[in-house]
Amino acid sequence: MGKNIMDKLKTKSRAVMAQAERESALLEPTRRSFLRGSVATMGAAATLGATGGAAFAAGNPENLPPNVPEWSKMLGDRVTAEPYGIPSQYEKNVHRRTVPWLTPTAESSISFTPIQDLHGIITPNGLHFERHHGGFPHIPKEDFRLIVHGMVKNERMFTLQDLMRFPQVSRIHFVECPANSGAEWRGAQMDKLQFTHGMVSCCEWTGVKVSTLMEELGVKPGAKWVLAEGADAAGMSRSIPIEKIGDDCILAYAQNGEMLRPEQGYPLRLIVPGFEGNMNVKWIRRLEFGDMPWHHREETSKYTDTLSNGKSRRFTWSMDTKSVITSPCPEYPMLGKGYHQIRGLAWSGAGKIKGVDISVDGGKNWMPARLEGMVLDKALTRFVFDWDWNGQEVLLQSRAYDETGYVQPTIDQLRAVRGTWSIYHNNSIHTWLVKKSGEVQNVQVSGK
């Protein structure tokens, strides 16, 4: 190839890249299009719909038929250009986000999964929500040890390699922070799906069942509880009843096929299916068997639920059945009248999702949605509903029910029993107000 042609191609490639950057900017609402913390935030959702749609429709004519784009002519990148592959540069806006005012420090804090951008039931490893109580450590795998002791017949200390030699299981389970939707207890607050419901993720976890170790080491009579403790700077510790730990809990070293991410507990974490996220202790270093619970800080001062009469519930482990519509949502409003496939996620700490219903009138009437794809025990489950939107304002809701017969409640029902002081365990039916413009706003409703 002559020098002139190469130069010409490079110039054209730069033009393509520049155009791509512009498109990316249009599709990247939270970084560029939105005005920070201003009144314009409300209108920005509609702007996103309009410009996003327009950007898709317009594109760069040079790359559209009948023209042949550069990427059809030039060689692409070589193999191993990215030895560990990363998402497309045009998806840079898909990432975890935090709410700075929620916590005093960024180390004891939370980040939310962008569930508005995800499909299927598996959360990519780099997008699993984070909740650290003392930052996340980077533990060399050779410096990892798990000590199992207390009321066991054979106390034992394991390396990671030891644990990986035991019979292995893989299970797909959601992990949800009990504070998910916690900001909504007293009224609608967050106006993004990522922040109302993003403290939930779902991965395939691989490791050794705790019951395998219990059979191996022997449990002494009278042992009823296990303390799980992390090696992080918070020494995260929770008391877990022995029935649960011996039932389906997993000491997991892998997540979606690869070793755990540091944020998710590398090199080993506990998976306690269907229970509060913080019980799934990350960077676990110790399991102590005992005959009574420890009543540690994260199960007394925190992660307890105070009722309006001042009494508080403790050991509220199970994550109740919940669902939310992920399309449309504030981040991705309606693009026009006519067909729209309503999509969402449902999950239950009690077992499998049995079904999901959709209401477009704030809960007066319900229509069954269809479960799409795998329906697994204590896992995120996809639901879809074929909808013909007439362009009028609607109150959109989803309501899940599980195999035990439990039906996701209204916020009114939860408040009637628990008051408004809870932080945790808000699994209420969520409402999106779909406006004529297509904008979607987080609201709460009351039915009589």
Partner: protein
């Protein structure tokens, strides 16, 4: 393994004595033999947990005066000079009574401190030892942890500031809110699976607040 209904009260099962028998986990002979037997010293280095019955409390003691000085050095920057949270966003440690957890008494929000809310004094020692000071965890000696624990309990009028804090003194503390906790009664709501004409009317009671939801780089902190 049997499965149990987690949505019912798991605690009820535990307290009700429906326990797996030890026969299921006989474990007299290890089948795989992986790992090693940890020495007592190895276990002791990591076994830092304390229970309400005092199990795990180490030897040692600390005075109120030492606790006051240590608190000023290690804790006051976040929790405030008077351990009341310092007007910031860190947890207040002192003040209040269980009475102030009720909505009728404090309509704004419950006044939660060690003195008003925490059911067991052992948790104070345990948490300081494992996680405090924030950013320099497990750096205090047992005497220092006793001293700070004694200082905070004394400031909450739960310990005599003339007496040193030690294992026996800590076990003797009865926290005011020890009876303030109830076990999980869920499922506590029953939503009927209604499909048609479930409500006559529906009204919007609240809308998401402007300016609360982070946007842009703010969401990356």
């Amino acid at each position: 393994m049997f499965k149990f209904p987690v949505n019912k009260s798991v605690l009820g099962l535990v307290l009700g004595g429906v326990l797996m028998t030890s026969a299921a986990y006989a474990g007299d002979e290890m089948k795989y033999g992986f790992g090693v037997k940890p020495s007592d010293k190895e276990i002791a280095g990591w076994d830092i947990d304390i229970r309400p019955d005092g199990q795990g409390l180490p030897a040692g003691s600390g005075s109120y005066e030492d606790g006051e000085a240590l608190y000023a050095e290690h804790c006051a920057a976040c929790h405030g000079d008077f351990a009341d949270g310092g007007g910031g966003r860190y947890p207040p440690l002192v003040g209040g009574t269980p009475n102030e957890l009720a909505q009728s008494v404090r309509p704004g929000q419950p006044h939660k401190t060690i003195g008003s809310y925490w059911p067991y004094a052992s948790t104070v020692f345990d948490y300081i030892k494992r996680a405090m000071p924030f950013g320099n965890a497990q750096s205090l000696t047992d005497d220092e942890v006793y001293a700070i624990t004694g200082f905070l309990l004394a400031e909450n009028d739960l310990h005599d500031s003339d007496e040193p804090m030690d294992a026996e003194a800590l076990k003797a503390v009865v926290m005011p809110n020890v009876d303030g906790f109830v076990d999980d009664p869920r499922p506590d709501v029953k939503n009927p699976h209604c499909m048609k004409d479930c409500f006559k009317s529906v009204e919007i009671t609240s809308k998401a607040t402007l300016g609360v939801t982070p946007t842009g780089e703010e969401a990356l902190r």
